[in-house]
Symmetry: C2
Subunit: 335 residues, 2 copies
Amino acid sequence: MTISNLEKYFRNKSVLITGGLGFIGSNLAIKLVELGAKVTLVDSLIPAYGGNMFNIEPVKDLVAINVADVRDSHGMNYLVRSQDIMFNMAGQVSHIDSMEDPYTDLAINTQSQLSILEACRHNNPGIKIVFASTRQIYGKPQYLPVDEKHPLQPTDVNGINKIAGEQYHILYHNVYGIKSVVLRLTNTYGPRLLVKHNRQGFLGWFIRLLLEGKEINIFGDGKQLRDLNYIDDVVEALLLCGAEKKAEGQIMNLGDSVYLSLEEIVKTMIRVNGSGKYRLIPFPRELKKIDIGHYYSDFKKAKKILGWAPKVLPKEGLARTIEYYKKYGTQYYWK
Amino acid sequence: MTISNLEKYFRNKSVLITGGLGFIGSNLAIKLVELGAKVTLVDSLIPAYGGNMFNIEPVKDLVAINVADVRDSHGMNYLVRSQDIMFNMAGQVSHIDSMEDPYTDLAINTQSQLSILEACRHNNPGIKIVFASTRQIYGKPQYLPVDEKHPLQPTDVNGINKIAGEQYHILYHNVYGIKSVVLRLTNTYGPRLLVKHNRQGFLGWFIRLLLEGKEINIFGDGKQLRDLNYIDDVVEALLLCGAEKKAEGQIMNLGDSVYLSLEEIVKTMIRVNGSGKYRLIPFPRELKKIDIGHYYSDFKKAKKILGWAPKVLPKEGLARTIEYYKKYGTQYYWK
């Protein structure tokens, strides 16, 4: 599957995106409209989550928007019908929230995934599903880079519930023939990333602090390595999963072969922004317990099956992201 | 920890057993009474499950029985208080039921485990918990014997939900200091095994057919290898987990170094029974999909940490089991 084939594949396809008003879902929607797909977005617009109407400003008249929660199994039963492909991106993604309210995380990340799959099995068994999972499920790496065979030992409730969510997708492929694909995403960033609070990962929050002229606090010595994926690369991987038959039934990591320390990431942000300050501070005790040290993914399997590799370097991606929030930040900081 | 120390450890300890009227829970309760523990049994007595009042006939006046469902989080919130140890054995264990009604399996095997752990965290954080997990979570073995590092690729909803249940126990150990231990059981058999229907594994059902003089049907060529654990050995492992500090936070397989084919198991049953007949028949198509081929566990880790190894050979264990059902079968076949 090459990129040029994607347009041919997606033209006039009916595509459902759960979490379609969120960071990744909305970027995917914009690209799918460009490719000529008929796009329906499902999003619950839960205030603390990433859904934001402004995210789809460029295509708002070209997509169908259905405000609904994936926990609403009746609604989902109807919505999955007559869809060719579902990008199943809806999720509770804050590990902090998952520890404070584990039941909501379970309902969204586990139970709803089961009911979405039951809806497909009974109402649209021919559907293709691309499910967004997360590197969180690996926990603290036992070796690097982390490949798909790495043991799963999540350090939070969120990671455990996501394992169940992705395993259901693979099971429904193996037993019922649902054409599911699972992608385990690493740190994805770019325009439309949630920046309104610090409960969903460090990247959005650091960008917010930078643009507000506030000091960025890095926990620990700042030497923890991370791989980042720019949103356009992730959207491409999702589209390739949707189009590529060989991906069905597979679990694949995304990732990057460029690893940066948290301090290097922040220094890059400050450089492309032209100003900014940061400080290294000791880990709060509660967070130290779930600190995973270095993390970066092995994405050889995605490369082999999808022909995918990330193209956008952190410096370039961070520059584009900061530029976006300089322009549209007021649509995000308090919304 | 040696067996003789168990009596010293458990004397006057307050012990809660969820699923306490079921096969393993009731055998454990009888042993704990013998060791001098103060035992409370929680069981929902759901008709299709393994709970049966006759199971605790020998100790019925020496234990407290609390009929309640682990899904009742208010009841569990109260019941976990002032307990030293909980043996958390309650579960939906039929993989067939988990496919036909995945939500009930999720509620019992996943959501209830989360609420039990939340109950402990808030009301009794010093409690020790021994959680009964299952070899089902490994799925079809990629190598043999299967050790605890083997990838988890369950072939049914039950296995996926049990993964989440056991991972919550380990997480609550790592983050909140709850003293949890996870045991992954293989094919456990012995007196009090459920024999009233064929939805919970083959061993109980084969014994039932044998004693009713009916033909036993083995799917496939009968050469699939299995390891069996006799109930007394499993009870000993559970007790050792409860008493041994080094077991906390660990996941351990039980298993046996004797592997028998299904056909050999049935032939042994017929031999110790003195009569019986069987036939090899082709796999039904639906079951073939989830057939896992050979399975046996590596239990070196349990041996090292607990000093445990199985003692009862299949021939002896099957003889004791068949003798039990010859005597008490009418208390089980239709109850």
